[in-house]
C-alpha cells in the first residue's frame, strides 16, 4: 500500500476522493482551507465537482441538495463557518441525509484565533443547530486517522442515513505526517429507495422535514430517537492506553489525546499507574469504555482545549462515582505532556511516589 507524506487537511481530501466522494461544496476559512484547495486540484480531473460557494450557508445547502440524490458529498470548514452551517445541518439530519462535514476547530468564540481548540465540542455532539438531532462525530488524533475516519465517515453516513462530522483541529490539519493510503473498505449495502433523482417509472418522492401535525411530528422524533439509540448501542469507539491496572485515568481526544499518551508513559516511569481513555466517537459518547473502571479507578482528569465541555459526558459515564477533574488550555495553546502530569500529581497528591 502506498505511503505518503501529506498535510492533515490534504489527507481528508484524498480520503474523500478514494471513498468515492464526487462532490465538494465549501467556502475558504483557515485552518481548513487546504481541504477545498486540495480537492479543487484533484477532484475535477477524476470527474468530480468542486464548487466554491458564496458562503457556508450556500455550501451546506448545496450538500443537502446533492445528498438528496444519493451522491457522496463533503464539506469542510472551521468554527465560524460551521456555525453558519448549523441550520442546514439540522435540516440534513431531519431529512436523514448521508454526508460528511469536517470541522477543523479553531479557537473562539467570535472570530477567535487559528490555534488548535476543542471549543466546538458542545456544538458538535449536543446538536449545534435547532431541534433534537444527533450527528455521528469522529475525532481523529493522527494523520492516519484523518484518512481512516474520513473513509469510515462516508460509510457510517450511508449506513445510518445520517450526517457525520469529523472534528479535528488546526494542529492536525496543518501538520505533515506519513499516511498509508489504504484501499477503500467494501461499502455497506444501503437502501436507496428514498433518493430523489427524477420520478421515472415510480411514484414521486418528497424529501422535506415540514410537518404541522403534532402527531406526525412526534412520530418523526420517535423514529429518529430509535435510530440514535441504535447508533449509541453499536457504534461507540475508543482507544485504551495502559488502562488494565490503572488507578487514575486521563480522558482526552484528538490532539490532546495524543499528547496524553506521553504523559501516561512518563507517569508509568515514575510508578504512577495512569491510563488513558481516548474517545474516538464523541457522539455516540463511548460510555461503555468506562464500565470496567467505574468502581476501580481513584480519579479521572479530562484534558481539553476548552473550559471543560467533554468533562460533563465523562461525569455522566462514571455516574460521578469518583472525582473527575479538568486540565485545560485555551485560546489556541496546547499543553505539553509534563504540565499534564504535574497537574495529575498535584490534584491527586501523588508527589510522594518514589521514582523507579
Amino acid at each position: 500500500m502506498e505511503k505518503v507524506l501529506m498535510k492533515g487537511n490534504e489527507i481528508i481530501g484524498e480520503a474523500a476522493i478514494r471513498s468515492g466522494c464526487k462532490l465538494f461544496f465549501g467556502y475558504p476559512i483557515t485552518p481548513s482551507t487546504e481541504v477545498v484547495e486540495y480537492l479543487s486540484k484533484h477532484l475535477p480531473p477524476k470527474g468530480g465537482t468542486v464548487l466554491q460557494a458564496e458562503d457556508e450557508i450556500g455550501a451546506i445547502n448545496m450538500c443537502y441538495g446533492a445528498a438528496c440524490t444519493g451522491s457522496r458529498v463533503l464539506t469542510a470548514s472551521s468554527s465560524p463557518g460551521v456555525s453558519l452551517k448549523q441550520e442546514g445541518i439540522s435540516y440534513s439530519a431531519a431529512v436523514e441525509l448521508p454526508m460528511v462535514i469536517v470541522n477543523v476547530n479553531r479557537c473562539g468564540p467570535g472570530l477567535g484565533g487559528l490555534g488548535p481548540a476543542q471549543s466546538d465540542y458542545f456544538q458538535s455532539v449536543k446538536g449545534g443547530g435547532h431541534g433534537d438531532y444527533r450527528l455521528i462525530v469522529l475525532a481523529p488524533s493522527t494523520a492516519q486517522e484523518l484518512y481512516d475516519f474520513t473513509m469510515q465517515g462516508f460509510d457510517l453516513a450511508d449506513q445510518y442515513r445520517n450526517p457525520v462530522l469529523i472534528l479535528t483541529d488546526g494542529f492536525l490539519g496543518q501538520t505533515m505526517e506519513p499516511v498509508v493510503l489504504k484501499e477503500r473498505p467494501e461499502p455497506p449495502k444501503v437502501d436507496r429507495s428514498w433518493v430523489v433523482d427524477g420520478a421515472k417509472g415510480r411514484e414521486k418522492r418528497i424529501l422535506a422535514s415540514y410537518s404541522l401535525t403534532n402527531e406526525i411530528g412526534e412520530d418523526n422524533n420517535l423514529r429518529w430517537e430509535k435510530k440514535y439509540k441504535n447508533i449509541q448501542e453499536k457504534e461507540q469507539q475508543w482507544e485504551e492506553f495502559h488502562t488494565e491496572d490503572a488507578e487514575y485515568l486521563l480522558v482526552s481526544y484528538g490532539t490532546t489525546g495524543r499528547i496524553c499518551k506521553s504523559t501516561v508513559l512518563n507517569a508509568r516511569k515514575k510508578g504512577i499507574k495512569l491510563g488513558l481513555i481516548r474517545p474516538i466517537t464523541l457522539w455516540p459518547y463511548p460510555e461503555k469504555a468506562f464500565i470496567p473502571y467505574k468502581d476501580k479507578v481513584k480519579g479521572i482528569v479530562t484534558v481539553e482545549l476548552n473550559t471543560g465541555q467533554m468533562i460533563e459526558d465523562v461525569k455522566l459515564a462514571v455516574e460521578c462515582k469518583m472525582p473527575v477533574h479538568l486540565y485545560r488550555r485555551q485560546g489556541g495553546m496546547l499543553p505539553n505532556e509534563h504540565e499534564i502530569l504535574d497537574y495529575v500529581e498535584d490534584i491527586f497528591s501523588l508527589t510522594a511516589v518514589e521514582e523507579v
Binding site: 446533492a66 420520478a199 414521486k204 418528497i206
Partner: protein, 250 residues
C-alpha cells in the same frame, strides 16, 4: 364528448390548499403544463421553499425537495451539480428569494447555474401572516408596516428581477403577471422559455410572477386582481427584461 381542458399531468390529484383567490395555484398550474408539454415531468426535481409557496411540493407530480427558507437555489444547485442531465427548478416567494435568500439568487445568476427559478411576488410575507417584504410597495400597510411602508425608513421596493438581469450568467429574466387570460398566456410562454434555457444549458433563468394574497392584503379575490394591476404592475418593470442572443435563437 371531447375533453378540451384537463388537469395537467404535472400536478398530482391533491387539491390546492390556498386561500380563495390566491394566484399561487394558477402559477403552479402553468409550470405543471410546461413540464408536461416539454415531457420532463419524470426528469425534473423541484425545490420548494418555506412559505405558502412551499406547499407546491405536494401539488407537482415530479420529485421534490423541501429547502430551508431562502436556500432553495443552493439546494437546487447541489442537485443539478450531482445530476446535470436532470431539470431542476425552484419555486420561491419574494421573501424567500429576495430577502433571506438573496445571496444564493445573486450567485446562482452570477455563476450562470443551469437551473430555473420562479419567483412569486405577492408584495408580502404570506405564510407568516402578512409582514412587510422587500417587495412591499410604498404606503402599503402590513403587520410590520402598520402605518404603511415608508420608503425613507424601509427603502423603496426592490425590483429583484432587474438586479438579477444585470448579472452575466442570467441569460433569461422575465417579469409577468397572472391577472388576466392574456397575461396568463404570456406568463406561461415565459415559464416555458425559462425551462428551455435550462434544457439548452445556456445559463440561469428567472421568471418573476406577480401574484395576489387576498388574505393578507385584506381584499376580495376580484379587488386583489385590480389592486395588483393598479399598484404593482406600474412599479415593477414587466415583460422580458433580459434575453441573450442564444436564448433568442431557441
Amino acid at each position: 364528448m371531447e375533453k378540451i381542458f384537463a388537469r395537467s399531468k404535472g400536478l398530482t390529484d391533491v387539491a390546492f390548499s390556498f386561500c380563495p383567490g390566491c394566484t399561487h395555484g394558477t402559477i403552479m398550474r402553468l409550470i405543471a403544463e410546461v413540464l408536461e408539454e416539454l415531457e420532463i415531468i419524470e426528469d425534473t426535481i423541484g425545490i420548494s421553499p418555506v412559505g405558502c409557496a412551499g406547499f407546491c411540493q405536494n401539488f407537482f407530480s415530479c420529485d421534490f425537495i423541501g429547502a430551508p427558507h431562502g436556500r432553495a437555489q443552493a439546494v437546487g444547485i447541489g442537485v443539478k451539480r450531482a445530476l446535470p442531465d436532470r431539470t431542476v427548478f425552484t419555486y420561491q416567494g419574494d421573501g424567500d428569494i429576495a430577502a433571506i435568500g438573496t445571496q444564493h439568487a445573486i450567485h446562482a445568476a452570477a455563476r450562470g447555474e443551469k437551473i430555473t427559478s420562479i419567483m412569486v411576488n405577492n408584495a408580502i410575507y404570506g405564510m407568516t401572516g402578512g409582514q412587510m417584504a422587500p417587495t412591499t410597495i410604498e404606503g402599503m400597510k402590513t403587520s410590520t408596516s402598520p402605518y404603511g411602508r415608508d420608503n425613507i425608513l424601509d427603502g423603496a421596493p426592490m425590483d429583484f428581477p432587474k438586479v438579477i438581469a444585470n448579472l452575466e450568467g442570467a441569460v433569461y429574466v422575465a417579469s409577468v403577471s397572472v391577472d388576466s387570460p392574456k397575461n396568463i398566456k404570456k406568463a406561461k410562454e415565459a415559464i416555458k422559455k425559462a425551462f428551455k434555457v435550462q434544457q439548452a444549458g445556456l445559463g440561469f433563468a428567472l421568471v418573476s410572477v406577480l401574484s395576489t394574497c387576498p388574505t393578507n392584503w385584506g381584499m376580495t379575490p376580484v379587488d386583489s386582481l385590480n389592486w395588483l394591476r393598479e399598484n404593482m404592475m406600474p412599479i415593477y418593470e414587466m415583460g422580458e427584461l433580459k434575453v441573450t442572443e442564444e436564448v433568442e435563437a431557441l
